[in-house]
């Protein structure tokens, strides 16, 4: 399985999560984070912190997620993403 980590400004986090589930993720885990990057665009500080979204998915789904992020979010929003393989307990449930 592949673990994908996405860090996104709060305003698009809900939307990215919906997209993830649509693209085949069986679940996700989200934590609040704070950070700095190279672009620094952000709608408003008190709209909320960055969200760090993690999802464990099949490699094919990870590919699809990456493609989708590049296409829909990378241009205008503060979003980064990275992935690496993980071994999961009872992998069958991540379908």
């Amino acid at each position: 399985m592949t673990r994908v980590t996405i860090i996104a400004e709060a305003v698009v986090a809900e939307r990215i999560i919906e997209d993830l589930l649509r693209l085949g993720a069986s679940g996700y885990t989200r934590t609040e984070a704070e950070g700095r990057g190279s672009r620094g665009v952000r709608a408003s500080e008190w709209e909320g912190k960055n969200q760090k979204i993690e999802t464990v998915v099949r490699p094919a789904v990870a590919e699809a997620v990456f493609d989708h992020l590049v296409q829909d979010y990378f241009e205008h929003f503060a979003v980064i993403a990275y992935a690496h393989p993980v071994e999961v307990v009872r992998g069958e449930k991540y379908g």
């Binding site: 665009v41 709608a43 709209e47």
Partner: protein, 331 residues
């Protein structure tokens, strides 16, 4: 110096002084100072959320109790006027920004959306100002905030060609009308206050009424920190934006006061309609605009609404609009 009684005769300068030296505004300056000296003072997010929930609910409850005591005619007319005014403001903001200011369409629409919507905190400060002046006002004014929060944003977004995926945004915008937390707490508070009545609300006055002005101080301390973090962008903002963010509120404020007068509002009510028209949103609008117009630059619209117009209205605008309303009502 019995200003509680003689304020009718106060000069604009006196009003200004009175506002600037009120604890609420001084706390705002204190927040600005915290940023300037780079203090490590920081409001935890939960405190900020808690204070806003309190303030919104309290102002709604108080309004509702007032409403229950006296059925106020003209309510619907005033709400309609507020809605139309909010929707209309972007119609003159957009061309000014687009052709005088030469902003690109997305940026012009984004800024117009902010000025079409309203700032709840500016509204709260205006109410606190009226209370300090012992000036009466209509109980239903919180409903006016609710009604004026969204139309301006919607109209401004219509002014630019719709980008892909905007259908989703429209649904979200509509939902905000009914369910956004500031609108919800203001209207919800109004209903609860009306149903409980003045008698019922007495039991909770010690929490929702007496400490109100003090809580607002604390909140404005935080707002001072938030607003002043935008000051750094001022230099890059350009002169046009700064002038716009100072003059447009004056125009909108005057229109609002005049409209209030036409609708037969009290002087305090017309003043509040003016303040709402003059104020620029920095909560509902940025979130919506960020999604609907991702190509617009947050640095532009937030600097204007939060870095310039908000502090201006809070410090200079409020006494100015009050003086103007006094002049129009001949007091």
């Amino acid at each position: 110096m019995d200003w509680l009684i003689s304020h009718a005769a106060m000069s604009t300068a006196e009003l200004l002084r009175l506002n600037l030296f009120s604890p609420v505004i001084l706390c705002f300056f204190l927040g600005v100072a915290a940023t300037l000296v780079r203090s490590d003072l920081k409001f935890p997010d939960a405190l900020y959320q808690g204070l806003s929930i309190y303030l919104l609910l309290a102002i709604g409850l108080k309004g509702g109790a007032a409403l229950s005591a006296s059925a106020e005619a003209g309510l619907w007319l005033v709400l309609a006027a507020g809605l139309v005014l909010g929707a209309a403001i972007p119609l003159w903001c957009y061309p000014v920004l687009r052709w005088l200011g030469r902003f690109k369409p997305e940026d012009a629409a984004a800024v117009a959306a902010h000025y079409g919507s309203v700032s709840v905190v500016t509204f709260l400060a205006a109410i606190a100002f009226l209370r300090a002046m012992n000036e009466p006002f209509e109980g239903y004014l919180p409903a006016l905030v609710a009604v004026m929060e969204v139309p301006g944003i919607a109209v401004a977004l219509l002014l630019v060609p719709r980008p892909a995926g905007s259908g989703r945004v429209w649904g979200e915008t509509l939902h905000t009308v009914l369910a956004g937390k500031s609108v919800f707490l203001l209207l919800g508070g109004l209903f609860v206050g009306m149903l409980a009545g003045e008698r019922g609300m007495e039991k909770v006055d010690a929490f929702f009424v007496a400490p109100f002005a003090g809580v607002l101080c604390l909140f404005l301390l935080e707002m001072g920190m938030v607003a002043s973090r935008r000051f750094g962008d001022l230099r890059r903002a350009g002169l046009f934006l700064i002038v716009f963010a100072l003059l447009m509120p004056l125009l909108n404020g005057a229109v609002g006061i005049g409209l209030g007068w036409l609708c037969d509002l009290s002087r305090g009510g017309a003043f509040v309609l003016g303040v709402l028209a003059a104020s620029a949103s920095y909560i509902a609008a940025p979130a919506t605009v960020r999604l609907a117009l991702p190509a617009a630059s947050p640095a532009i619209y937030l600097t204007a609404s939060l870095g310039i117009t908000f502090p201006f209205n809070l410090t200079v605008g409020i006494p100015l609009y009050f003086a103007l309303s006094g002049w129009l009502y001949g007091v």
